[in-house]
Symmetry: none
Subunit: 211 residues, 4 copies
């Protein structure tokens, strides 16, 4: 599959009937499972269909091609992550910056860990499926949410610029990726969470002017 841009990966039909919704969900879940158990290059449309309990033909009724399938799963996951972070941002309004960062980072870490399987699966296909483009889009969305939140911080003279927030986000996702791919116990996970909070807090403190 050649490298991809964002255009024209949308699913073929919107599930209007109950059966369709179920089928789409099954295919989507099967994709993740195949990705995790077989790896990115043993993921074939037939295998996904088989695992989902449908025929290849059916799969192609909902997705015009293999990439659109992976893209949809990817987009879905990022949508969930984005929403979780946005919700956290809203809740954190008017808190002191340090508190804000903590809530946002924890929300991010938690949502990634909740579907650690999907996260790990997607690391394997991201480059082939328009991952970078999609990540850029998501990063923009998250940045906006965080910017809005930070503007309400009572202890900030001046909100940080885009660049700073992007830096924080990319560091965050890098650290999260390592943690997920490494596996690790619940204890490790909690420590990662704490340290990622610390990392972001100290960076933001250093990078912004505040009282």
């Amino acid at each position: 599959m050649p490298a991809a841009t964002l255009t024209a990966f949308e699913p073929r039909k919107t599930p209007v009937q109950a059966r369709s919704a179920f089928t789409v969900e099954a295919i989507s879940e099967a994709t993740i499972q195949v990705l995790l158990t077989h790896g990115a290059d043993r993921l074939t449309t037939s295998r996904v269909a088989e695992r989902a309990g449908v025929s290849v033909g059916t799969l192609y009724q909902y997705y015009p091609n293999k990439r659109s399938l992976l893209f949809a799963v990817f987009e879905d996951h990022l949508e969930k992550v984005s929403r979780a972070v946005e919700v956290a941002c809203e809740h954190a309004c008017h808190e002191p910056m340090s508190e804000m960062i903590q809530l946002v980072v924890e929300a991010y870490v938690d949502v990634k860990m909740q579907r650690a399987d999907i996260s790990i699966a997607l690391y394997k296909v991201a480059p082939d499926v328009g991952g970078p483009a999609l990540l850029t889009r998501t990063a923009q969305r998250l940045r906006k949410a965080i910017e809005s939140m930070l503007r309400t911080a009572p202890d900030l003279k001046l909100s940080p610029d885009r660049f700073t927030i992007d830096m924080m986000l990319s560091a965050m996702s890098g650290a999260m990726r390592s943690a997920l791919e490494a596996g690790g116990s619940t204890a490790i996970f909690r420590k990662t969470r704490e340290h990622l909070v610390l990392l972001c807090q100290s960076y933001m403190a250093a990078a912004t002017e505040h009282w």
Copy 2:
């Protein structure tokens, strides 16, 4: 290509005749070029051979399979990065911690930027080629170099634990990856460098006990 571990990716034969050395180099370089111009999934062994100006057969004299070829390029790049960071670590001994971090981060950023093309190319194949395993190995190596360095920091009561250094490294590589994939001007590059220094410095300061 199925997911891979670290074992058994070594090149097939060591060049004994002068001619061979040239051939191997040409193949290696061609691999990077094809990766950059065609993308990860349009990289075929024949294309690489053609670009290198040799026959496929010749390619297979030196690499037992496609993966080993990509693996070798990957390994080569990580070797260069590791060395650059290790050298920086040695130079930074006995400096204050903040200075240490600056030198190391700058070394890392610089070496990645120098071969930005390879870095970007490799992000595309990493998952298929034993990337995670190789990255883990590299991370260990870098961690050790940094630990040794930090033990000589005059302003540190207690050296940070492994976890903290790993966290810094993964955040660093995450940020760097985003920056590289985003492209960006020289100005952006300099700002990234500065901020990454700041990020690491402030995190390490926050995560360690010092005077």
Copy 3:
């Protein structure tokens, strides 16, 4: 193709649609034709597919690899031979031993001659395709049939041991192979049949105790 054991050569899928059954038969027949017209080492999967009037892909839907294809044809042929001999054995029960041998040998010779083309074709691939293992299995089956038959011979004090029957079978197949590979007229064929009967009769008479 490396040497093979008996395991895991079964066809890949069982035809459910009517179309499939036809396809499978066509592929099987094409295999024999290619074997006969091109020889064992110019038999390629594409050639077989072409001759069968299907695409290579289709061939691989039914046979997981080239060997399994040849194996299936082999097995099929031996099945026919075995059945012919078994039927002869049943018919010959309670006859005098000499009569028994005659009927069995004639059945064997006849069935081999009927499909002389396949027999000759298969001699060429046997070693590569699990032939020895398959032949061993067939030999056991034939031996059992012959043992059962001989136990009903009224003129035998004691049935011959396994070894003796195996010896007869291997001599028989050796003689048959020579005859088939040599070609020869119908007259030759009839003489071969007579002499093979004589050979087996005289050996069995010499090797067993009888009245």
Copy 4:
């Protein structure tokens, strides 16, 4: 390799120098070893050369192609077998027929067993290397020797015809092949020898007119 006739398989040069003779012998022996350890289709010229301790280039100095190599080994072996049988035939002159058969069969069995490894190895390549043609030639030679011998048998009214001797030879080689491929202990081997003598004796007795 396409099926072969007898023409043009002769080795490229006759070993005139001591070194050559040694090299040729090493290559020949290596061929058998590779055949036994790797199987017919994993026998490559490079592997043979490597095992023989020479370069591929050198191998091609002595054999114009792969087939000629296998053919030479084959021919060599059949030469030894033929000679052993011929010698036995000479020794057996003027003995009673039964004695003759015994001596000849034992000579044959013994020479095959002596180099059981070669025999087995050659069964694997025979079809690809002009085996049938070569075997025909050998069979003729053996038949002649046996005919000559039988003409001196004091207890034979009339010598058997060609056909009968060929039949005996092919049965003999078939039985021998089974025995060799089955492996088996020394005890089995001795029993095979005895029974093969019996088989040939009883067949010849039945097929000829004698006193």
